[in-house]
């Protein structure tokens, strides 16, 4: 508005600040994308739904609280119950797999690689906007990985692979760096970041929903999004996943949607996207009341399994494909039987079972 109150034409010379908008399918940048990135771009930008209604968010919170209290009445164990993607996926495959600390997260080259690699991409991508270090690292992903690795070793910190890295020798760190490099390259190769406003990006978002102290315990839900893209008031969460898309991974989508929605309380997350670079698959799931309900079911089932493990009650094993990499593989009779069944083995598969049948492990009933 001019000094005299007359409207000013926002033409040449006028600077306007507007919210960033996603490019439409005919946008020159999108048209110029390599073929493999077009499905990712479509999953990110096209036909974004409205957020779930507030009533659905409220219903999910009530259902969680009721489930938590019911669990407390049935199994009176104090302390915090942590439900994260790692445990949820284990329990979705086999309730017994959390027995003996199987549900405890530990840093490995693979898990550290994801953390370091994506942090490196964030630094790499910060480019011109970061400090002097960010500008230097922005030139090459390799440099960004190096910087992030050094920072983690120097600074350490809870819930970071810093202490784990610090304990490694030179060869171990070289392996960690190489694998982190691979994750970073995957992120650069498979996410059309140039279409996304830099200010709208958040890497490795954590969502923690403390269930509250009611009944003397708390249920903590931990979800993680590798990348969050903000588009106006809507958010899309992206996860880079290994291997090919499987039905079990839906559990992770539901947990991510629930954790992000409950943390935010405003239901701004409208879509979760899983990108599988190994297979080139892109799976997009809109956040709906049904997905939130599924998330509640996942959380309660996982919490029940974790509590049962704490009280020494072993769940019955549910043999399945997860037996191939379960840490009870050598001691679980049910899993061993499943793995040895010839009709469970495809002709192209490796031979998973040892010649001699494994002995039943403690705490795992044979079936």
């Amino acid at each position: 508005v001019s000094a005299g109150g007359a409207p000013v034409d926002p033409g040449a010379g006028a600077r306007t600040r507007r919210l960033w908008e996603p490019p439409d399918p005919g946008h020159p940048e999108r048209v110029a994308l390599p073929l493999h990135l077009r499905p990712v771009a479509a999953a990110l930008f096209d036909h974004l739904p409205e957020p779930p209604p507030a009533a659905a968010v409220e219903a999910a919170m009530v259902a969680l609280a009721q489930g938590r209290d019911r669990l407390a009445l049935e199994r009176p164990v104090g302390g915090e119950i942590l439900v994260d993607a790692y445990r949820a996926r284990l329990v979705a495959g086999c309730r017994a797999s959390v027995v003996g600390g199987g549900g405890d997260f530990a840093w490995t080259p693979a898990t550290a690689a994801r953390h370091l690699g994506l942090r490196a991409v964030a630094l790499h991508h910060s480019g011109d906007e970061g400090g002097p270090q960010g500008r230097r690292a922005g030139r090459a992903v390799e440099q960004a990985v190096e910087v992030v690795l050094d920072e983690h070793v120097r600074d350490g910190g809870d819930r970071t692979p810093g202490p784990w890295l610090a304990a490694l020798d030179g060869a171990g760190r070289a392996v960690a760096r190489a694998q982190a490099q691979r994750w970073a390259e995957q992120a650069v190769a498979w996410l059309p970041l140039r279409l996304i406003d830099r200010g709208a990006l958040r890497f490795l978002d954590d969502d923690w929903w403390p269930g509250g102290p009611r009944s003397g315990r708390s249920l903590v839900i931990h979800g993680r999004r590798d990348l969050t893209v903000a588009m106006g008031r809507r958010r899309v969460a992206i996860t880079l996943a290994g291997g090919a898309a499987t039905a079990e991974a839906v559990v992770i989508d539901a947990l991510t949607a629930l954790a992000a929605t409950l943390c935010d309380r405003r239901g701004r997350l409208v879509r979760v996207v899983r990108v599988h670079p190994a297979s080139g698959e892109v799976v997009a799931t809109d956040v709906s009341p049904a997905l939130l309900e599924r998330g509640v079911a996942v959380v309660l089932a996982t919490a029940a399994a974790v509590v049962a493990e704490g009280t020494g009650e072993a769940g019955a094993p549910s043999p399945g494909p997860g037996c191939r990499w379960c840490h009870h593989r050598d001691s679980c009779a049910a899993g061993g039987t499943w793995l040895r069944r010839p009709d469970r083995r495809s002709m192209g598969l490796p031979l998973p079972a040892p010649a001699a049948g494994p002995a039943p492990g403690p705490g795992l009933p044979a079936s």
């Binding site: 110029a32 994308l33 390599p34 073929l35 493999h36 490995t108 080259p109 030139r139 090459a140 992903v141 390799e142 440099q143 490694l168 020798d169 060869a171 171990g172 070289a174 392996v175 960690a176 190489a178 490099q181 691979r182 390259e185 995957q186 650069v188 190769a189 290994g242 291997g243 090919a244 898309a245 499987t246 039905a247 599988h276 670079p277 190994a278 297979s279 080139g280 698959e281 399945g320 494909p321 191939r324 990499w325 040895r340 010839p342 009709d343 469970r344 083995r345 495809s346 002709m347 192209g348 598969l349 490796p350 031979l351 998973p352 079972a353 040892p354 010649a355 001699a356």
Partner: protein
Amino acid sequence: VDVLEALRGDPATRPVPDPAVVEAARAHLEAAAAAWVESVPDGVVVRITKDAVTGVRRCELRHVGELAMRADAATPPPSPALVRGRLLDAVFRQVATTGAVGADPVAAAVAAAAAEGDAASTTRLGLDELDPDDQRSVCDDVQTAARRLVADWPPLPPGSGLRIQERVLVRLAGGRVELSGRPDVTVGRPTRHRAGVLVVEAKSGGFRPAHLEELRFYVLLEALRWRVAPFRAVLWCLGDGRLEAVEVDADLVWSEALRVADAITRLTRLAAGEPPRPSANPLCPSCPLLAGCPDGARQVALAGGWSPGFDDGDEEADGDDEGAAA
């Protein structure tokens, strides 16, 4: 040999992306998978590796028989070729990533394997299970190959998109059939205007024509994954230093799709419980089932008892047959 030249080829002749041929290949593979997959028992995923493709097309009976024998037998001690392959794999990963390896490449390979959580690192990737003469021979081979690698592997520029032993999975028939492979090295990624991926496969031994089939399998997997075929595939035999480069075109992608589709049909039929069919072939003399196989006996008789003189099994460790958790 100028390795960089062999890897790069002539940039001016790189093909433009042709999504139609890749889509046609995928459609053909889906059709092959659909033929028998309904009869495959629930819970079974037919995972198809390069070795499975080669083995089942050579002779279904031998392929199934060898799988069953491997299931029943105790794990045999590693052969010198297998240990050499494991060690060189680790050395190659290190050289390709960092451009250098320590003064003792065997120790460096074992240390890297230990850091990656490889259980075989406790026996130095199987080296400790060999007799002293074989140990010396394997260590000498690894030293020689490591020197060659460090001298010849070209340092790649930052941002070249170097990927070391990255698993590639292609799901067909709604996930009931999976093509799985792990090329040693892939470089680059496709752009809008041209194919940009290079596949490199390193072998610790000498050249064999069967290696080219493996290379073509990886080309197909990469094409399906990126929706664009690679521009080139290179086989580097560290044993004899031979370098084979294959230009990738639509014909190669399509012919490989036909070969893999044939293997998919056979493997899903077997997974559905159908009996394996014998196919006499020049490798019958080395088949462990020869004594009970009339077709094989006839083949041997026709060939005058000729033996190919080498085992067809590729013992080099390439990780393709590892579990899905790897």
